[in-house]
Amino acid sequence: MLETIATKYMWSTAAEIAGSFAAGRASAVTVIEATIARIRERDPLLNSFTAVTERRALLRAQALDDARAAGRPLGPLAGVPFAVKNLFDIEALPTLAGSKINRDHPPATRDAALIERLEAAGAILVGALNMGEYAYDFTGENIHDGPSHNPHDLERMTGGSSGGSGAAVAGGLVPFALGSDTNGSIRVPSSLCGVFGLKPTYGRLSRARTFPFVASLDHVGPLARTARDLTLAYDAMQGHDADDPVCANRAIEPVAALLDRGAEGLRIAVAGGYFKCHDAETLAAVDRVAAALGANRDIDLPQAERARAAAFVITACESASLHLDRLRARARDYDPAVRDRLLAGAMAPAALAVKAQKFRRWYRHEVLKLFGDVDAILAPATPCTAPLIGQQMINVGDVEMPVRANLGLYTQPISFIGLPVVVVPVPLQPLPIGVQIITAPWREDVALRLAHALERKGVAAAPRPPL
């Protein structure tokens, strides 16, 4: 590929950009100018950005160049561009959360907590990313902004709801991005777009100043093209935040220095039963990862199907409660597919939602027992590779099922109890697909180590799309 301003640093990792900047081989302004040029040139194909914060990014880059020239200390992500799903508050912009309605909101007066933390580490925000309306989505489609497009095949879905995050990272626009994950919204686009994604333990990363979806299940986290970049972003965002009542008061547990420890000594099993997918590509991906990690035993997550059902019920009821006022005032301004699910959720008996929350406690207790015998569990991330945009049904083995509800089939029973998960991309042809590495609460380090080990073995990789 002929190098132009737009392709400069296109496939550089965050670690490489930060290294070049720290060593004086690259200026932050040059990196940001290249990133903005790339977004302008290539995003019309991907439709991943809904706002580009060019002026802010260039000012920030100049400040970093000045800081380096003055010999001031630089953060571990100094000079690295990143973008965020448009449910994160960005000062001076309304927080869309993928909706038409929120366009009438006043601009945010302060950045989301995680943007502040990443910028404190030297990273530079370049914009906001497309997403499914109010995060109630697994497809990456949005009737207001148009669908985000999968860089590996522009006719195909990115997965959602963090579809713009998946497309921007897989398409080389930014080395990493932030998404949110309530039922699978980081892991599904990571799988379909072929990038690494981390859904941390519930309560690990602050959700302060993000637009909520289902408070009981909402997580936020990064997507990146390497496990190391995922780790660098994750480490920079850790730490208690009193502005998010769910954020745990735990010491920061950095992982970057542990990444090279590999899989040695770790006990790894493959999720059986409910998670045994009959799709050939999904099976092949799990088998490859299991073989590379020496995982030769199956383990059953008890009542996983019920866990998914309970997550579904809680999602329906809590999200409906969040949107009641808007449903009364502006029901016609919603995507009909989102509106009708929210209305149905408002009409569902509250007793079921409370029972689902009680089942959540039971299920967590039972699943945590499994981690006495294993350190990590492997499971498919999605039941298939990326479907076509607009596709309504998918075939999984011999079973035909609706796309919209079932892309999260394997992610919902995990986020339901807040377990940390890293999705690793397996570069199958013609389309990649992800595998979940699930660990005990607060053991993101184990999942990230395994992801890095798989990358070094060549089993996991974010494939470069033919753009």
Binding site: A215, P245, A310, F312, A331, L343, A344, R364
Partner: protein
């Protein structure tokens, strides 16, 4: 726990069988009047629920949305039944923890 769940599950099965019989009986009755009124589907009980809920919550539901709301409500209830028919001890705390 497993034994209790199974016992409860059997009980539920019995209940749902009774429900099925009632529906079938109702179905027979409506078949005999089929020329006057169309046969009711098993989810027709959702129609008054949707109307009453919309009224109680002050939600204006366009008639064109009714079919989709009904489908989604039916799905929630079907999946909710899967949760409901699992026995959980009374003293189980719900998932979220509130710290005062």
């Amino acid at each position: 726990m497993k034994k209790r769940s199974m016992k409860r599950s059997k009980k539920r099965k019995a209940t749902s069988k009774q429900n099925t019989i009632q529906v079938k009986r109702g179905g027979k009755r409506s078949t005999s009047r089929a020329r006057r009124t169309p046969a009711k589907t098993p989810t027709d009980f959702l129609d008054p629920l949707i109307a009453a809920s919309a009224q109680a919550l002050g939600l204006a539901v366009d008639p064109g949305w009714h079919g989709s709301i009904k489908f989604n409500l039916g799905l929630i209830l079907r999946l909710g039944a899967l949760v409901d028919n699992f026995s959980i001890p009374d003293d189980t705390e719900p998932g979220p923890v509130f710290h005062a």
